[in-house]
């Protein structure tokens, strides 16, 4: 056998051995590997659900009592801020049929970014994903008529509010240069997430046009 063929054979054995090890690793996360695990899991799940329900009921009653003092209401969304994150809850009136007319198409994107893909849940949400040559992503998320609950990191970030055009914007500027801009146009909630300058964010926002 030539050394080239031997080398290929070693590579094949090596590659197959890695696949075997990785498959075994993946299987170690499977429930079937631990007898009785499923039963325990159901018990745990039930306990968790009960606990979550209890916390939810208590939190909701607290919110109802002190809603204006605890939650900050901007646009039609309520912002509940903790030391680590902000939770956004959509309070838009829900309708049974999705209305995609309310989506906005980004018409201005920074030159060094190119369009990668859109990820759409019809009638509920659309994500426009862009990437620059440094493999940094710019993601524009638009949600409409959905049970939106979004979590945004509060850590290592400066939170501010600004008015751009007719839009009130909530800005999360992180220490690493990344920023998240939140705004509402009509009933559409828009989140722009990327490592861009303030001017670039403003240009994207003013360039958002109703999608026909």
């Amino acid at each position: 056998m030539s050394s080239k063929r031997k080398a290929k054979k070693v590579m094949k054995l090596y590659g197959k051995e890695i696949i075997k090890q990785r498959a075994a690793f993946a299987d170690s996360f499977s429930e079937e590997y631990v007898p009785g695990f499923r039963k325990i899991r159901y018990k745990r799940m039930f306990k968790r659900i009960a606990l979550t329900m209890l916390i939810l009921i208590m939190t909701l009653s607290l919110i109802v009592a002190t809603a204006n003092a605890v939650g900050i209401k901007i646009f039609n969304f309520s912002f509940f801020e903790t030391s680590t994150h902000t939770e956004l809850i959509n309070e838009n009136e829900k309708t049974s049929n999705g209305n995609t007319d309310c989506y906005y198409k980004p018409t201005v994107i920074p030159d060094n970014y190119s369009f990668i893909t859109t990820d759409e849940i019809e009638g509920a949400e659309i994500n426009y994903i862009y990437e620059n040559d440094k493999k940094q992503n710019l993601v524009i998320t638009e949600s409409y008529n959905t049970d939106l609950t979004t979590m945004i990191d509060n850590e290592k970030c400066k939170i501010s509010t600004e008015v751009i055009g007719e839009n009130e914007i909530k800005i999360y500027a992180y220490e690493n240069g990344r920023s998240v801009y939140l705004l509402q146009k009509g009933k559409t909630f828009i989140m722009i997430d990327g490592t861009l300058s303030e001017t670039e964010f403003k240009e994207i926002i003013t360039g958002l046009k109703i999608k026909k």
């Binding site: 051995e17 696949i19 690493n176």
Partner: protein
């Protein structure tokens, strides 16, 4: 028919999420050592898996498990590079931090199993993490260079060169020192 097809695609991705999300989070957390970034890695990995869903025939096969692990690792390594760039660090990735990634091959056991000599083991040990993933996809799972380029989001030429480089090193050791295969 289109609706049925879309339902099949949706059920496949849902099944992947249900089966492998925990594992992917563990891998990402082991590599990046940051809970929030690990979650980001898993999300990005799902977007990439969804984009290349046609490459998955059977959600439960060993090849699929390797494919999902590879994508998660690849996204995590890219994230480390990106984080280093943002922080202005120019140092190379410290390979030691990857020594404890679970599910990886124990090279000594592998050596004994097939009776390879130390020179072959040395070449295999020196293969870096990205090349290891490429070799596994190419020689272990039988993907073409084009398919690997799509999975790893790199050029086909780069994939080919990386495979060739590893193969040539191994070939040189075998021709000079006679690697022994049982």
């Amino acid at each position: 028919m289109l609706i049925t097809l879309l339902q099949v695609i949706e059920s496949a991705i849902n099944e992947i999420v249900a089966k492998y999300k925990k594992m992917m989070t563990t891998i990402a957390r082991n590599i990046i050592k940051d809970e929030h970034l690990a979650e980001d890695i898993v999300q990005i990995s799902f977007i990439r898996i969804n984009k290349n869903l046609k490459k998955i025939d059977n959600v439960n096969s060993a090849e699929t498990k390797n494919y999902i692990i590879t994508i998660t690792r690849n996204v995590a390594f890219s994230m480390i590079k990106k984080e280093n760039k943002i922080q202005g660090n120019v140092q190379f990735i410290d390979e030691d931090r990857f020594n404890n990634i679970e599910g990886e091959i124990d090279i000594e056991v592998f050596k004994d199993k097939y009776g390879f000599n130390d020179d072959i083991v040395e070449v295999l040990s020196e293969i870096n993490e990205m090349d290891k993933d490429i070799i596994t996809l190419r020689y272990g799972a039988g993907y073409s260079c084009k398919e690997i380029a799509e999975i790893m989001e790199m050029s086909q030429n780069a994939v080919y060169k990386r495979c060739q480089r590893a193969l040539e090193k191994l070939e040189k050791v075998i021709s000079e020192k006679g690697g022994y295969i049982k």
